[in-house]
């Protein structure tokens, strides 16, 4: 196992980056729904009070107002916990943003079960599935603070709606300030031709740990950081499907509608191969520490190894 150094939570990196780019992009306005201290948008609000609006606990109003701001030439960043902003304002996103071709950036925190102790009401395990239903949305799920900083800066340059998924806990540092990312692409972190392991966000380090353990057994796993979830990086997937024996996806999301299901849909048509997805199987999270929950729901190095071995032994 690698010694992971914990960095900042991705939500905090988001707030800091907003603050950093606020001067350059005068069109940016930031909207929050009484969770600005958790999403770190309060940092922007302190420095740019005229461009920061706390909507109170009224997500639907916030999201539709973001549509109005975007229709007036602003670049709104809308933030809250993923489960509240997306689930409560799902239809407002559909009509006001997706169905109106408007340029709004959604950056939500507290995605996945790594939220921990707060329990299932605050843990979004359906955000990817919901956001992926909106035509034209780009979905990015950065793994650490450096990837988050890149994603936030990059999404401003992209004209169109974007969803960036961030998390609550401090994230293991995988990258550094010089790491190069490509918009709408993914990143191969480890080369290998036996199997492919795919993850994104906080659980990426589990994939990398599994890679190391597998190597000890002589199994070379390709590890891909699928930080862009939509549009699907088809080229990278096809390559993995052709060059390795199968794919294991690990994600802190429901199996239905998660990245694994999107990959399976694509590859079952273009290049069928063995795909095993680790995630929440028709159930919700609960209270506990992030790693206790990961263990309970099978988001572990051991489980990844098990799935890899099943693929290799054709089980």
């Amino acid at each position: 196992m690698r010694e992971w150094k914990l960095g900042k939570p991705t939500r905090e990196a988001y707030g800091e980056t907003l603050l950093e780019i606020g001067e350059e992009y005068k069109e940016i306005v930031v909207l929050d729904a009484d969770l600005s201290k958790s999403t770190y948008t309060f940092l922007f609000g302190k420095k740019f009070p005229d461009r920061f609006f706390n909507f109170g606990i009224a997500e639907a109003n916030m999201v539709s107002a973001a549509a109005g701001l975007a229709a007036s030439g602003k670049i709104p960043f809308c933030s809250s916990f993923a489960c509240f902003m997306i689930n409560k304002a799902y239809e407002q996103i559909k009509i006001g943003i997706a169905g109106s071709n408007l340029n709004v950036k959604f950056v939500a925190s507290h995605a996945g079960i790594s939220v921990g102790e707060d329990g299932f009401t605050q843990q979004s395990v359906e955000d990817i599935a919901l956001m992926a239903t909106f035509p034209g949305f780009v979905i990015v799920a950065p793994a650490d603070e450096f990837a988050t900083r890149w994603a936030v800066k990059e999404c401003v340059k992209h004209k169109g709606p974007v969803y960036i998924r961030t998390g609550r806990p401090r994230s293991p540092i995988i990258y550094n300030e010089n790491t190069k990312f490509e918009w709408k692409k993914t990143k191969v972190l480890e080369e290998g031709d036996d199997v492919t392991i795919i993850s994104y966000g906080f659980t990426l380090h589990i994939a990398l740990d599994a890679h190391d353990e597998l190597l000890k057994k002589g199994i070379k796993a390709r590890v891909i950081d699928f930080y862009t979830i939509k549009p699907l990086d088809e080229e990278t997937l096809l390559k993995a499907a052709k060059e390795t024996k199968g794919i294991v996806v690990i994600e802190e999301h429901l199996l239905n509608g998660g990245l694994g299901s999107m990959i399976a849909r694509f590859l079952s048509d273009k290049n069928p191969c063995r795909i095993k997805v680790i995630g929440l199987d028709d159930t919700y999270g609960e209270s506990g520490t992030p790693y206790e929950l990961f263990k309970k729901f099978g988001l572990t190095v051991e489980n990844v190894i098990k799935k890899v071995e099943e693929i290799i032994s054709n089980g």
């Binding site: 306005v29 909507f55 109003n61 109005g68 229709a71 239809e91």
Partner: protein
Amino acid sequence: MQRITFSEIETLQKIAKEIRKDIIKMTGNAGSGHPGGSLSCVEILVSLFFKVMRHDPKNPTWSERDRFILSKGHGAPALYATLAQCGYIEREELLTLRKIGSRLQGHPDKRFLPLLEVSTGSLGQGLSVGVGIALAGKIDKKDYRVYVLIGDGESQEGQVWEAAMFSSFHKLDNLCAIMDYNKFQLDGRISEILDIEPVIKKWQSFGWEVFEVKDGHNFEEILWAFEEAKKIKHKPQIIIAHTIKGKGVSFMEGNNHFHGRAPNKEEEIRALKEISEDL
């Protein structure tokens, strides 16, 4: 504004009459749509687009324009017919309403008709969009005003009250809502399904300046309310306009049968005849 002259009112009435005929023809030709709630808001739309709002049909995206949002998106035929009268779209195009490939979708769709501020059709959202545009106006120190037409039944949506609370707290005096109070919703009388009364007190208690227009088909009354609303500082305004669903066609007036049903051919002919003869 100077007192409106009789001849000006006559002109507006003529436009309203043309729009009513277009609504009947459009929904009749489409074989579906919402004539009742379209006919009830004609005078409100004519007042806005021909007297109250600053806008330029030759430059639909003019940055200084007053904004309009049809939050009760099912009134789309009335909006399209008004836009045609202004010259934003060709009148011939009106008959493409609800047809495949048409810019005139069943409910206003910005993807097809980019001059709209936003798509509408799911009730409750338009006032919040207006909030966003009003905020942008304040940030940019522009003096445009934002007009949002909401339905009476629509006011049952919680989001309307989220927007109401926010607007007064933020003193959005550049935001003006109009409620087309035609007393009906799809399933029947509002007073029987979920009454919104006392609606004036509700808006007042949410910090809005309220104007009540007893006859929402009387241009003098409507225009008075809009002029008074413009004078209000530090508060959003709402005009509660009492209207008649299906206004202008005897067998549609107050007949909720025509909430979401288009006239058939015979009804269309009768309706057009009535509108043409009456004034």
